[in-house]
């Protein structure tokens, strides 16, 4: 038990930040050194994540039991108001931590093509990684909130400085939407703080695990109307991040204008924070309200699935299509969670992980063609399959994974979601299942327009995908394929915790 073992989550969180500080101190003009430091700083969490994976005990649940969390670090931070530095992992956060570590590293490698102010870019990116890791590792609400907000600043600059033509609009829209969601969360956090007592000390607490047993709530917090309002406050904050219809309008702008690697992170990791927040915070603290709102949440999930797919089909911009496909896919997560069945919950969590892989591939691949052709109009290409066969193979694979082809991970997730939610919401699931057809339709239609048919002579000499890009895509493709055939390792990783979560939500109160 060395320092690394006892502080593994902190190291995963703060090593990137350290790298960012180092980058700021480097002399100007040495871009290669900046890239090296950034790559190292973002790579280090991966071996740590593997260590986490190997050392993780899959038989204990976590969720609301402090003694069942693993890799725990618990220190007092601001004793006068009982803010703690409290980190730990369970089956809900493990896949997200691994996902963040992997995607962040790949995104750094994918950003090596950036020419303009790369020093600032990498420093901000590493700060962003710290924020993301921190969100998934925190068990203290205050700490969680700080990390949640810390991500906003780098994201604003990364979209605003290195983004596309409408970057300024997209950046501020993202910032305002997310801040609106988080101030609501802040108010709920303070309301929870003042209306619960720490069973150990009798004082107020920010420890989110202490909010979960109903015994810690005072009479005000036990009121049904109050609980509904507080749940909604949190829900809107998380829904904006997911994003759920009707809070999704920031997403197409932000995803389309952001540079490729940032779109990868946005879709691959940031969106999951919304649903992660629901699983980690909203559901266990307000199980009664989660049950109460199960149907509306399922309806929202259904709307996301169908509406996202229809929007995606209407897009002429390839990146915008991929962005809307995320809206559609995140709907599955909500639908699965709302069912409150083991299969639904596991499917939702599985979808969070696998969508991270697949959407990251898609955004990387869109970035590849944009770097070469400098536009993304679906109708502006044609017959690329003959010119860039390797690229076409990759994108076909990614599209098939995204539309849920059996044998790839997206299928596993979606079928589990349907399996888990069908017994609970028959009509809703049937409508949502229609969405699958639209999802398949827009993928195949785009594939046909861009890669099949007569070759557009303008792109007869389009450059093939290069080694660095293949390096970014391969791990994602391999994991998608592996989990599609053999999903049990991921399911086992989170099963105990998710079953416990379902149990908590179903039985408490």
């Amino acid at each position: 038990m060395g320092f690394i073992d006892s502080h593994i989550l902190s190291l995963m969180t703060f090593l990137p930040l350290l790298g960012g500080v180092v980058i700021l101190c480097l002399p100007k003009g040495n871009d290669n050194l900046v890239k090296t430091v950034a790559a190292v700083a973002s790579f280090l969490p991966i071996p740590l994540a593997l260590k986490l994976l190997l050392g993780f005990d899959r038989t204990v649940g976590g969720v609301n039991a402090a003694n069942q969390f693993q890799f725990v670090e618990h220190y007092s931070w601001i004793p006068s108001i009982n803010v703690d530095y409290f980190m730990g992992a369970d089956g809900i956060s493990m896949p997200m931590l691994i996902l963040t570590a992997l995607l962040s590293f790949l995104a750094v490698i994918g950003s090596f093509g950036i020419k303009n102010k790369i020093k600032g870019y990498m420093a901000l990116f590493l700060l962003l990684e710290t924020g993301m890791m921190g969100v998934f590792a925190s068990l203290d609400f205050f700490l969680f909130y700080v990390f949640w907000e810390v991500m906003l600043l780098p994201m604003y600059f990364l979209i605003g400085i290195w983004g596309g033509p409408r970057k300024e609009y997209a950046a501020i829209k993202f910032f305002l939407y997310t801040l609106l969601g988080s101030v609501l969360m802040l108010l709920v956090m303070l309301a929870l703080y003042f209306n619960t007592t720490n069973p150990e000390t009798g004082g107020h607490t920010f420890n989110m695990l202490h909010y979960m047993p109903q015994a810690t709530h005072n009479a005000w917090l036990k009121g049904f109307d109050v609980r509904i309002l507080l749940f909604l406050g949190l829900f809107i904050g998380f829904a904006i991040k997911v994003p759920l219809f009707p809070f999704h309008t920031w997403l197409p702008d932000a995803h389309v204008e952001a540079p490729t690697a940032i779109s990868v992170i946005l879709a691959g990791v940031l969106l999951k924070m919304g649903t992660y927040g629901l699983m980690r915070i909203s559901f266990p603290i307000f199980p009664d309200i989660a049950r109460y709102f199960a149907v509306p949440m399922a309806v929202l999930g259904m709307i996301n699935i169908v509406y996202g797919a229809l929007c995606a089909m209407a897009q002429s911009d390839l990146k915008k299509m991929v962005a809307y496909s995320s809206v559609s896919h995140m709907g599955f997560v909500l639908l699965g969670m709302a069912a409150l069945t083991p299969a639904g919950m596991v499917g939702a969590s599985f979808q969070m992980f696998t969508h991270g892989m697949i959407t990251a591939m898609l955004f990387f691949l869109v970035g590849v063609v944009y770097d070469r052709a400098h536009h993304r109009q679906i109708d502006g290409f044609g017959g690329l399959g003959a010119v860039v066969p390797v690229y076409t193979a990759f994108i076909t694979f990614a599209f098939f994974a995204s539309l849920g082809l059996p044998g790839l991970s997206g299928f596993v997730a979606e079928s589990m979601v349907f399996l888990g939610s069908f017994p609970v919401f028959r009509t809703i699931v049937m409508i949502a299942a229609v969405g699958i057809i639209f999802v398949a339709a827009f993928h195949l239609w785009a594939l046909q327009r861009v890669f099949l048919g007569p070759l557009n002579p303008k792109y007869a000499t389009l450059e093939e995908i290069n080694a660095r890009e293949i390096f970014c895509l391969t791990p994602l493709a391999v994991i998608s394929l592996f989990l599609g055939i053999f999903p049990m390792p991921l399911v086992n990783l989170m099963n105990t915790s998710l079953l416990k979560l379902v149990d908590v939500v179903k039985t408490v109160l």
Binding site: V146, V150, Y156, I161, L179, L190
Partner: protein, 492 residues
């Protein structure tokens, strides 16, 4: 028991140090040949530094009443003396760097500045209506002169004129309120007034008197609807003066507001709940509406501003609204939140103004559009300004966020949820205009590419303002403890 006049002198050293410095400055001004030299600035620095040191060394426990009950020496007063002295020191440094002020006669400027400081010292410790009024005027009158210090500039003259007219009206109303209070209770000691009114008689006259007094204080902290003067004054006054007015007198205004209402209305011995005075008026609601109006007006009007100083003026109105949230309930926790917020506000607001001065020195402009490309022209100043602006917005990991958490917390704790929601939405609005400056600095291309040099000394001072802004966002335990200890007012 209040100490007599002679016995009080030894407890009055910070004020005496400032007074002696003012007199010395006048002497130097008469004797000295070179009126533009920085001698007076250095002398003022030494004087205020000495006052700050003496304040820190002053034993504030147990609290005593000085000069037959005129002023109090308690943790609260010491806190505000230290805060305003610190703000004055920073402003003196800013003034030395300001191109607007160079070439002007220096000694008078610092005489006025230090007079305001003396006034703030007294204002934050006054426990008698007469003393309170005198010290308020001691803050106000030199402020009028400072606002109009650039004689040649029309807007500076306008600022001074408006300031005088508004100030005179507000203090007239306030002193009328004082006279009513005296008529009701027969004493000018605010603790005595509190005891006399605790019987609950004369509700209507008391309400009138309290509202009139609140007008005077509201004017000092620029709370809506007594804020009209502040955008014009802030825009027209020399920038260091603007920075000073937005922090120093505002802090002192909060000090006197809290001391007066806490002593009179929340039972003079500090025991009992908030707003214990029985009265048909819902004071909490009244001040909550005032607070909500102040932050909303400030933020909404700031959105459309094109001049940085004017924008910061409206933003500082909004911040007064946030701080009023801590006052609404008149509880120790709320007052502690105000004190903490004032500390973080000092660093972030002075820092923002300091960058405005540095930029204006190079570009001769305060228009937001002239900040275009500052991120590449003067990266250090631009990053600092971004830190200050995001801190003002209240985003972690900066100190402004922690300040807001404490202000929100007390309001939520006592169940005034609507005010917390209004304040939260206001934070989102404020992001829009703060981020607009950041956008112009980092996301837009400059019209002129030449580098904007920021000398080493201003860089160091910027660091000294930016580091606490960051540090207090990550670890603030010591400061909140100091604030908690300073809430205990003189009680006897």
């Amino acid at each position: 028991m209040p100490l007599g006049n002679l016995a009080s002198v030894s407890r009055f050293l910070p004020e005496l140090a400032v007074t002696a410095t003012i007199l010395l400055l006048v002497a130097v001004h008469v004797v000295g040949k070179n009126r533009q030299s920085s001698a007076s600035a250095l002398l003022s620095l030494a004087g205020v530094g000495a006052a700050l040191l003496l304040t820190a060394l002053q034993p504030s426990m147990p609290a005593v009443s000085l000069f037959e009950g005129m002023v109090a020496l308690d943790g609260f007063a010491v806190f505000f003396k230290a805060l305003t002295a610190l703000a004055t020191i920073v402003v003196i440094f800013m003034s030395m760097d300001s191109a607007e002020l160079s070439g002007k006669s220096q000694a008078e400027y610092y005489v006025f500045l230090l007079s305001v400081l003396l006034g703030m010292f007294l204002l934050s410790s006054a426990t008698d209506l007469v003393m309170l009024y005198l010290s308020l005027e001691l803050v106000s009158i030199p402020s009028y002169l400072l606002a109009g210090y650039l004689k040649g500039r029309k807007s500076s003259n306008e600022a001074s004129m408006k300031y005088v007219v508004y100030g005179a009206t507000a203090s007239g109303v306030m002193i009328y309120g004082f006279s009513l209070l005296y008529g009701l209770t027969g004493t000018t000691q605010i603790a005595e007034i509190g005891r006399a009114l605790a019987t609950g008689k004369a509700a209507l006259p008391l309400f009138l008197a309290a509202v009139m007094v609140a007008v005077g204080f509201g004017y000092k902290i620029a709370a809506v609807p007594f804020h009209m003067w502040s955008p014009d004054v802030y825009e027209g006054a020399p920038t260091p003066v603007t920075a000073f007015l937005s922090v120093g007198p505002k802090a002192a205004g909060f000090a006197v507001l809290v001391r007066f209402f806490y002593t009179v209305f929340a039972s003079p011995d500090g025991a009992g709940g908030p707003w214990t005075l029985s009265s048909p008026v819902d004071w909490t609601l009244l001040f909550a509406v005032l607070s909500a109006a102040t932050m909303t007006v400030g933020n909404l009007v700031a959105v459309n501003q094109k001049n940085v100083k004017r924008l910061l003026a409206y933003s500082s109105i909004a911040h007064a609204g946030y701080m009023l949230m801590g006052f609404v309930l008149l509880t120790p926790a709320g007052i502690q939140a105000i004190l903490f917020y004032l500390v973080v506000y000092l660093f972030m607001n002075l820092g923002a103004f300091y960058v405005v001065i540095l930029v204006a020195n190079g570009t001769r402009s305060e228009d937001i559009s002239d900040y275009a490309g500052l991120g590449s022209r003067a990266p250090f100043a631009a990053v600092s300004l971004a830190i200050f602006l995001f801190a003002l917005t209240g985003i972690p990991p900066f100190s402004g966020f922690i300040g807001k958490v404490y202000l929100f917390a007390e309001v939520i704790n006592r169940g005034v949820y609507w005010l917390a929601v209004v304040a939260a939405l206001n934070s989102v609005v404020s992001l829009y205009y703060y981020a607009r400056i950041v956008k112009v600095m980092f996301l837009e291309e400059p019209a002129e590419k030449a580098e904007l040099a920021v000398p080493a000394f201003p860089r160091a001072l910027l660091c000294l303002l930016a580091v606490p802004t960051l540090l207090l966002g990550v670890y603030w335990e010591p400061v909140i403890r100091v604030a908690a200890n300073s809430v205990r007012l003189l009680a006897f």
